[in-house]
Amino acid sequence: MPSSVQEFYQTLVARAEEAFAAREEGKKIVIQVGSATCEHAAGSREVLDEFRKHIISSGRKDIVLRQTGCTGRCSREPIVGVFIPGRMPVKYERVDRELVHDIFVQHVQGGAPITEHVLDAEQNKVSEYEFLFCDSSRCGWQGGLRIKDVFTEKLRAAGVDMERVKVSLASCFGACGKELAGTCSHVLVRPLKILYRVKSEADLDEIVQKQVLKGKIVEQLRVGDEPVSQEFFDVYGDVAFFNRQSRVALRNNGVVDPESFDEFIHYKGFKALATVLERGDPQWVIDEVTKARLRGRGGGGFPTGAKWTSATKNEEKIRYIICNADEGDPGAFMDRSMLESDPFNAIEGMIIGGFAVGAQRGFIYIRAEYPLAIRRIQHAMELCHKYGILGENIMNSGFAFDIEIRLGAGAFVCGEETALIRSIEGERGQPRIRPPYPSQSGLWGKPTVINNAETFANIAAIINYGGEWFNRLGTEKSGGTKVFALAGKVRHTGLVEVPLGTTLREIVYDIGGGVPKDKKLKAIQTGGPAGGCIPAKWADLAVDFDTLTQAGSIMGSGGMIVLDEDDCMVDIAKFYLSFSQDESCGKCTPCREGTTRILEILEKITGGDGTVEDLDRLERLAKLVNRSSLCGLGRAAPNPVLSTLKHFRAEYLAHVVDKRCPSKRCKALLHYEIDAEKCIGCTVCARNCPAECIAGARKTAHVIDAAKCVKCGRCFEVCRFDAVIRT
């Protein structure tokens, strides 16, 4: 029966929608609390309990409390959303018990949002309407900024109260077909969930006149399709951190309840799988993925379509597919967020992948340090089994596939595919020589496809919206988006998903809000410990696998650390090298011995004992490790050194020649002195000095005994007269 898969899927949908409708969320007030490891750490479970108590004691039946995963906006968690029907959704940041009470009383019951606690309150006002104009220039559309200003002007001219209406720029909605690319813009109207297609100024006039002034929908401009991540924009579209992102892999994060099968179905879950199984043509899936130009999101950037094709060329019919969720980069947490917040999506991607390459078994290799992610994936798998999405005869298609979870013990190297395979096999997690590649001979010698969790998270979207669409989102060589973990010296930190080709500047300034305290941006470190530092002068670099490699860094799994003038580049290189040195598996000589020697030289330099010759030795070793190591980790380990040596050589020279650290980070190179002119002899420094090396009588200038000084900097911190000079 050719239509049986669709029938199966429609039955699932009908059942899920019924359950979903029964909750009557459209008519009720919804309070949404984030639930993920990061949210829990910030106290979201207490917040959830507190809301529950409030709802019960209020006796109201029209308030629904629900949980979602995390949005990736970790620094502001716990994040709580309050959705009152017909009103703009309001999100609160850093909610605690006391704030719960205020939110419940003032906002939920009283209808008045507490504006000072709104997420990113410094930028976001609570408004009635919001118009989000797409500003993706990758389709060829150049007018986003202009059209937004024209529209704002028109609103003013029409006498609209600008407190009521907000006009923002967003990233691509994915609503253009191929034929439309570059010829129009799309406007998303929140909270109405209406998408307009705008081609001329006359269209804008129409929206102002009808929609804004009369509150009527402009039907002729309305686009039937929902934009990708419509639900995400519904909830978070007003937040500058989010609305410049294109959420594809993270589309359901912070939207769906990660533990609800019905919700996932409601948000188009398993639609792609149904499409794939209905067609029953693995080659079609591979073609779509190839068309999408999806490249490995774990950092290697190998074209996924080619990898899948290679596995299918093998005559061996027992094949495996592995989801690499052994996220090891310090500061990277996109895989965890995805698996905790949208576990079904990863599973759907894996089943589709398994079908495409002809695998019968899949493994999710996830680090044991992610207990919540493991629990949610486990839970999701159980539900999938229950509803016929995993196991024998998936969705009535005859396709049999199952997934097992394997836990990683936390070695960084196990993110390397051959080491990961060894680990699953129960061997010591160490890379082995390639070729043969895993797609030829992998797990237990069988053809094995390994993709990163983020790669799988994109698959369903590619099937649903088409490979062409996904490809258009990115650059010429790589389609789609990439999730970055933005951190460091930037105002807004968290997960950022942007189309490939977005510039570093857009990410740091437009989404990240720039460097705090208006300090100077010095560099952006990408790619985790194996990445490099890209100097601020290259901030307009369009981020892609190849451009980053050319710049001496790597995409890696998407770590992005913003560095400002206070960061010492030698110290940064040392930090990353100490990580790589510690995580080296020890198999090959250059990585095992070389990283140790590199680290020793860096320690010598930051310790004040470096010489100019050390810089040559450093470079020689770094190049050796880079060119001779066995696996990708060893090869990339010296990147932090090579890139900083290239772009910040002057800082190295300052350390070894002038014996000073320009950023005043390297303790051994700092000198503290007291300016006799400025010192009033208050004795505060002397009393605070742990080494008791500051002498001086009351009301006379104090003196630091440099020989005894431990350079702790306490005197510098406590002096209120700027008399302590640090050089």
Partner: protein, 586 residues
Amino acid sequence: MAEKNIKITIDGATVKVPPGTTIMEAAEQLGIRIPRLCYHPGLSLEGACRVCIVEVKGMPFFMASCSVKVWDGMEVQTNSPEIRQARRDIVELLLDNHPKECQTCERDGNCELQNLAYTMGVRERYFEGKRKDLPEDDTSAAVVRTPEKCILCGRCFRVCSEIQGVNNLSQHHRGFNTVVGPANLINMDDSVCIQCGQCINVCPTAAFLEKRHTDDVWKALADPKKHVVVQTAPSIRAAIGEGFDMPPGTPATGKMITALRRLGFDAVFDTNFGADMTIVEEAHELVQRLKNNGPLPLLTSCSPGWINFMEKFFPELIPNASTCKSPMGMLSTLAKTYYAQKKGLDPKDIYMVGVMPCVAKKYEARRPEHMMADGRPYTDAVLTTREMIWMIKCYGIDFINLSNGEFDLPLGFSTGAADLFGTTGGVMEAALRTASEWITGESVDKLEFTEVRAVEGLRESTVQIGDYTLNVAVANGLINAKTILERVISGEKQYHLIEIMACPGGCIGGGGQPYPPKGMKVLDPALLRLRAKALYTIDENKQLRRSHENLMITQLYEDFLGEIGGQKAHDLLHTHYHARLPRGIL
């Protein structure tokens, strides 16, 4: 359908090689020997040392020539200045984390790392820093582990698992702290180590060595009250010459005997006598078991590495093992009983030294079952071939120009069958020579049972002796033994006699044999063939080639032991085994 040869260019020269050839192999066809360290043709590819890196046009990284297979049109540079510097630096990195004690190291002059450093031109140290500081493990009676000298090439744990199937050695910790040792880094003595010593053989440095007995032997030789006797195992004569730059496969029995006399040994005996004894007792055991319905198959017991393996991995097969002591064990026992009695010596004054190709023999000599009633060992010291060579050199003996000596009697007389003990299939062949006559009760012309010479590691055959159709098997290298023993346990086939030698090729490939001469590798089949050939030649040139024809043995039974397989023979020449912990995981 033969695939077309691939054309590649190496250092400007073109060569055509079959698909699947590695860069290293292709280069060798052009006479280019790419330096290497962790690579070993008999083991799996590790690709860890990175010494054999080459530049391949179009590749951003250097490639390990041992593992990368050629592709059509590949252009390789093996000797660009960058490559030479990279190789030099890699070797320096290894040296920087290695003790600076070459002159006092037992491998001085024979160390692959040292030679490589010289060849690569490491004349200066640029990157020195901290070094690993790990304690020596000398708990084992046979194998000493010195992790400080380990360069993590991985040959030891590969030989331990891939050739021996013991899996005792593996890597622990990671990165700079990586260390090779038994599980959980327990002491070697408490591990499943079966003391075969193959890790010593393959180690490029001195991270694994045999437990040194030379000091004790020097002391005994210098003690006028001691009657110091020595016995040399069958395979020593085929390999000792290599230590003095004689071509591999040169028998050096006579020179060896003279050298031992010069060292001051009071009597030079031949373990071959013990081998003949073993055959007499073991063939008797076989005949008895055939007549009395088992237990069969009878498993040979000459190889102490194999005995250790059996006790730890296959304790259920202990009843099958021959109870005969090893030839060394038999000879030592006879020296301190029969010989002592004949010479009127107090056994306490006899100091017995075994020169063995084997390090497990050092352990065997210490086993309680091999002790005299007063708790003293029958064998006081066991020297490996390597230790013997060193002692001869140390003594300033010009080995090559020595005249030929003869073994002392009676314990130095042997038949050709005994010589075969040194190579795989030898015990089987010797046993069949005797058993065939005993079973049929008449003389049998057939002497050479070439079908049991298991050059490939494992061989099964069927031998017809009289009314008996005997299924026999010969295995060397314990991974092969494992295969056959699993068949025994599953009952898949009924075997009657199985010869097992722990080391690849038998004793000629033993863990105590000389490090291979230049241009050859340990486990090199060519080298093993040459050593084996020496033994076959000796056998062919002997007049008596069946153990039971050994006249001295006949006399020994008449004068001292009584009946073959009798009570006295049993008390003195047989032993027993017991399951030992930790039990190995198969």
